[in-house]
Amino acid sequence: MSAVSVLAAPMAPSPIDAPDIDYATISPLLIVLGVAVAGVLVEAFVPRAYRFVTQVVVAVVGLVAAFGATVWVATDLPEVGGDVPARGGPTAMGALSVDGPAVFTWGMLLLFGVLGVLLFAERRLDGGLSAFTSQASTPPGSTDERRATQLRIEHSEVFPLAVFALGGMMFFATANDLLAMFVALEVLSLPLYLMCGLARRRRLLSQEAAMKYFLLGAFSSAFFLYGIALTYGYAGSFDLGEISTAVSNRIGGENLLLAGMALIMVGLLFKVAAVPFHAWTPDVYQGAPTPVTAFMAAGTKAAAFVAMLRIFYVAFDGARWDWTPVVWGVAIVTMLFGAVVSIAQTDVKRMLAYSSIAHAGFVLVGLAGVVTGTGLTSLSAILFYLLAYGVAVIGAFAVVMLVRDAGGETTHLGRWAGLGKESPLLAIAFTLFLLSFAGIPLTGGFISKWSVFAAAWEGGAWPLVVVGVVASAIALFFYVRVVVLLFFAAPQGDGPTVAVPSPLTSSVVVVAAAVTIVLGVLPGPVLELVQQVGAFVR
């Protein structure tokens, strides 16, 4: 075919049809992005004295409104006929698929977003200043930095940045088109890179974390993009549905498809922090400001796993025999590595980072045992898992924010000895989150692990389930050791100090603890909800 026929197609004056976009259905997404833009305007026009409070109010009210819109969209989703129950469907010319799983993920991400913004807004812990640096452009320890602190200049830009990242996550989980998925991936990542470098204390670590996250993140998204290019070369379209048809019919060169799938998988495994693409996780979790770590740990993982499920269950479903062995291998290595290496950690934030790696492995177990249809499918089990894990991880990092000494947060585990005597309630809350990570009954973690393993077992991935149980046992040993340290070890020196938080952080810890218990004791309604969301619609 000549270039002329493609580029200079006959210029008949055919009318251009406006794309068909159902604005009401995607209103939660539009509200979140609108709130982010409003945050930028607040930054430009509101006087500095009122800026921080205005930003918090705009972000929280906007996210709650978006949550309301999500509930409204969810109740209105039409049922789709077919052999597998599903609701909703593609909109915006097929670029977005507003289906059951997407809408559930929106609600989940908005919950994480509100909890995260409340942590961002905490200003009582550090003498009336937020956890973010006064002016990121000043070098640490310089007179400029001290002056900015004295003048109480604050980076209230973190709120629009966080809301942009949240919008990107929601977009990522909904995208039904590989190109839209790439744009969403960048929209969620770029603000996170910046927010990682904004810590008030230990700024060198924070800047280093930002650079590592940025360089490795950009590297992995280039792999993701090349995978998209090769898949486009194979299928001739970015649309997941059309790729699925091409894969089922096995058109074109097999090698192109295999290489494209492998490269897309590299990009996604990086975002969910699976071995061998996990190297950034401990450094970034440790160096980033703790509220950002909390938000990122919960949100990125949820969005990236839903996008991964969508790509592999919708577009590459016909090539399941090609990708399943890879997922098996990665899941086994990730679970064992995360569990074993977390034993050696002496820093609380690094320990939680390795625990998040192990959890990525547990979710991959659910992905490998493919169960579709009615009842407890892989998809519904994983959605429940992401909710329970995300809430617990936000709660755990909120506790980390409160244990402090003169230099800010004290994250060395040795310094946490005797926390049970200093502040029993906080120690009990942290214990609850750890037990949920370990998967002890009566916490959300138990039900989520059980449902993922049950789905994988039914899908024929029983060796993975066995490895998962072994890895859980290894991790349990470590979590129990930390609990013993909190309650029974003698404190070092004068023991840990617990800062008195404002109602913002306290409410986050209380909500996270309450949700963790409710998901463990009365999981029925939420389990029913995730089973009703149905399959992905392409």
């Binding site: 800047q207 974390a209 360089l215 993009l225 070369g233 401990p282 950690q345």
Partner: protein, 99 residues
């Protein structure tokens, strides 16, 4: 005209970029290598667009350019702030975060 030479060139550029990210030590050069990888993707997109006879791939190339520009803004902001602190943009010097 066959697409193989173009895809071969794009794969070569992508590999040069990936190897550069792994072996170079200056953050700016590492970042330039990432940009080279993105441009290799663009070449693949337009080649496949030609092969399939649709415009999707060419549109994708524009999206990638816009995203790459946004990435430059964020990346240079981070690298410059580190350079101001350390007077060095070497990725080996930034090694405070360890086990």
């Amino acid at each position: 005209m066959s697409v193989e030479p173009f895809i071969g060139l794009s794969a070569l550029l992508f590999t040069i970029g990936a190897v550069g990210v792994l072996v170079r030590r200056n953050a700016i050069v590492v970042f330039m290598c990432v940009e080279l990888m993105l441009n290799a993707c663009n070449l693949a997109f337009v080649t496949f667009a030609r092969a399939h006879g649709n415009l999707d791939g060419q549109v994708a190339a524009f999206f990638v350019m816009v995203v790459a520009a946004a990435e430059v803004v964020v990346g240079l902001a981070i690298i410059v702030s580190i350079f101001r602190t350390r007077r060095s943009a070497s990725v080996d010097d930034a090694s405070l975060l360890k086990l």
